[in-house]
């Protein structure tokens, strides 16, 4: 199969997915008597002022979360626990930064390091349970998410700051000097791109580099593909699993930081929850590839940010966004599979065509 055809097929998959998602969603709209035209108009209309910045902020958070999940997937570990890991980590970082023991940027850096450490430790519990006691990480991370909720809620009562007249509780606010300035573009007076969103870019590059260029990355992928082959090749599979889980947790620890240092300045009961689960979907859409995950994160952020417009301008329940997101995930993978099958069939036909010329029956291409 030539290169151009393969490229065409690769582009066909996401396109097909989007078309399928649009068709299926439209059918649902028609069946339930909701307007179809206005809904798509909302999705295609340009977002409200400042929304681009917010979308990029969301993209960054989803991306970090997606990469955290992807690191696990690369090693065949299903880290459902990113959600708990980032919440514990963001809480710890907020507490530390709120103490203002260090000035300005040093405070930020210390908090980032602490967040990574705490995220890694929380994930490390699951890693140790898996390698030492054989507890499936699927179970342990589900449990640890819930435990994180209780633990943070309890610790929050110990450190909560006085916030007169408010019904939400939070950690002590981070001093002004440690607020991370916004990036110098897409700024409006109520929205901007959080400075620490750059962490997503850094992590993306680091992920790409480590996984595809380093020995550790090779070990990780090898162990993810085949335990047995990895072990026979000299890879310490348990150690690799622990490191992968720790790295996954460390990246998860960063998920909440851009918003913490760029907008919220404290961690509390109104801080965003559920980012870890979004990460799973995003990683899956992006097939654990650094660029693919970015695409998935942006798609997710875009859809999420149009949710309000959907209610306001089309009068349709926001749940539609969930439906579209879910269908999109499914459509993407089905489209890839269909395109793969198409490719196989095309190749087979080509072989048939070449039959006249005697061909070597070796070397099939998957």
């Amino acid at each position: 199969m030539n290169r151009w055809r393969r490229l065409g097929l690769n582009l066909a998959a996401p396109l097909l997915a989007i078309i399928v998602a649009v068709i299926v969603t439209s059918i649902i709209l028609v069946l339930s008597g909701d307007p179809v035209g206005p809904v798509w108009k909302v999705f295609l209309s340009s977002p409200v002022e400042g929304a681009w910045a917010r979308m990029l902020n969301d993209t960054a958070a989803f991306y970090l979360s997606g990469i955290a999940v992807a690191i696990g997937f690369r090693m065949n570990l299903f880290n459902i626990g990113v959600d708990g890991q980032y919440r514990v980590a963001a809480f710890a970082a907020a507490v530390l930064a709120g103490q203002a023991w260090l000035p300005g940027w040093l405070n930020v850096i210390a908090a980032i390091l602490l967040a990574m450490l705490v995220g890694a430790l929380w994930a490390g519990i699951a890693a140790v349970l898996k390698t030492a006691r054989g507890v499936s990480e699927v179970i342990s991370t589900i449990m640890l998410n819930a435990i994180a909720t209780g633990l943070v809620a309890w610790l929050l009562t110990k450190v909560q700051a006085d916030n007169a007249g408010s019904n939400s509780t939070g950690t002590k606010p981070i001093p002004e000097s440690s607020h991370v300035p916004a990036l110098p573009f897409l700024q409006t007076n109520i929205s901007n791109i959080y400075g620490l969103s750059l962490l997503a870019v850094l992590i993306g590059l680091a992920y790409w580099f480590v996984v595809s260029r380093t020995r550790f990355g090779f070990d990780l992928r090898a162990a993810g593909q085949s335990d047995d082959a990895a072990r026979a090749s000299g890879i310490d599979v348990k150690r690799t699993a622990i490191i992968a889980m720790l790295l996954s947790g460390a990246v998860a620890g960063l998920v909440g930081l851009p918003a913490l240092f760029g907008n919220d300045y404290q961690y509390g009961t109104t801080s965003q929850a559920g980012l870890g689960f979004t990460g799973i979907a995003v990683a899956l859409i992006g097939r654990n590839h650094p660029v693919g995950v970015a695409f998935g994160a942006f798609l997710w952020a875009y859809l999420a940010n149009q949710a309000d417009s959907l209610q306001i301008n089309a009068g349709v329940s926001v749940a539609l966004v969930n439906i579209i997101q879910g269908i999109m995930v499914l459509a993407v993978v089905i489209a890839y599979e269909l395109v793969r099958r198409l490719g196989v069939r095309m190749e087979q036909r080509q072989v048939a065509a070449d039959l006249a010329a005697p061909s070597e029956p070796v070397g099939a291409q998957a």
């Binding site: 649902i28 499936s136 699927v138 589900i142 449990m143 633990l151 009562t157 899956l284 439906i323």
Partner: protein
Amino acid sequence: MSIDTAPAPTSPPVSSQARALWSNRWVSIPLVILGGVFIMSVLRVVTGANDMNSSGAIGAALGLAVPIAMAGLGGLWSERAGIVNIGLEGMMIMGTWSAAYFALNWGAWAGVLGAIIGGAIGGALHALATVVFTVDQIVSGVAINIIGLGVTKYLADRVFGRMEGGGPTQSPGLPDLPTVTLPGSNFLATVEKHHWFFISDLAGMIGGLITNLSVLTIIAIVLVVASVFLLWRTRFGLRLRSCGENPWAAETLGVKVNLYKFIAVLISGGLAGLGGGFLAMVASSNYIEGQTGGRGYIGLAAMIFGNWNPLGMAAGALLFGYTDAIQLRGGGTTVHALLLLLAVIVLLVGVWQIVRRHRYWRGVIAVVIGAALLAIYFTTDTIPTQLTSTTPYVTTLLVMALASQRLRMPKADGQIYHKGEAG
């Protein structure tokens, strides 16, 4: 070829009659259970946490366990056929909605049917994606969780939002399903009231299991037992399980692997949906957005906990239900009492490690942790509510870590199977 030179599998030597008796599960399981009741009785008397094994707590545990067990059983059916089902939560949610829809339109029993149908639709979607289109099973499951939530929210808005007493996030009240109390319940309740050591405890625990049972609870128990029978005693079950162990082998023997996988995932969805239906119709009396609260995931955990076996899975669900029940009912004090149990177990494990296994490091660590727990127990008299809410999760984690059982999932679980690639 007749000379079997490969090292023969050795079965553990059966030394005495007692051993043989002990290894009979009809003897050992009741003994273990009675032992458990005994320990609980001691603990109750020592700590004074009377709610620990009251009939109420046990009944509540059963009620909380049913939806989890149905989700877990759903997961089990699917994974026994080789399809990982992380979409249980979504299927459960679909079950809650359609239970309400059917029950409102056609009555309580239709609601039960509706729950199954709703979940099975989710199952059908999963089967379509994973069996027909052979996509990654985790991806599909995650998508179904998202779609299930979205579709039900959307439909609830359209359907219940316009009903009297309903709203976009809840349905109007649903008709009730009957409940059953088995004979002897009153007598047991009387015995329980006396707080006699062991006797009352046993009475309470049995009483909790037979009083005020919803028919759905009974159906759920029947389904668990029936699953054991169907999957292990029938040809249908054998074929279905073969698809989870080695679909390629099954294919070469003429088993219609994809058909069985499809059926298994449909059943899986139906069971998860039934769990959702229980939540909507028995645990509460209407559909409420978000009422599954992650029970689909817990069900998945219960299934792994139970080593992909219905009875083990049920034990996992009950453990979870029980710890959740006592933390919700008794809050701090009962959980505090459990702390003592935990401390003693950890201490014993530590001593055992040192004395019998000669693993000094592990033993010492365990003893230190046990002593610390003991210290916490004696220096506090309750546990902060924020932490008691984590009891079921901590317990599950601890049991998994301590039991150190060798879990074995179906060998081809999660693997993508294409027809015609056997060989």
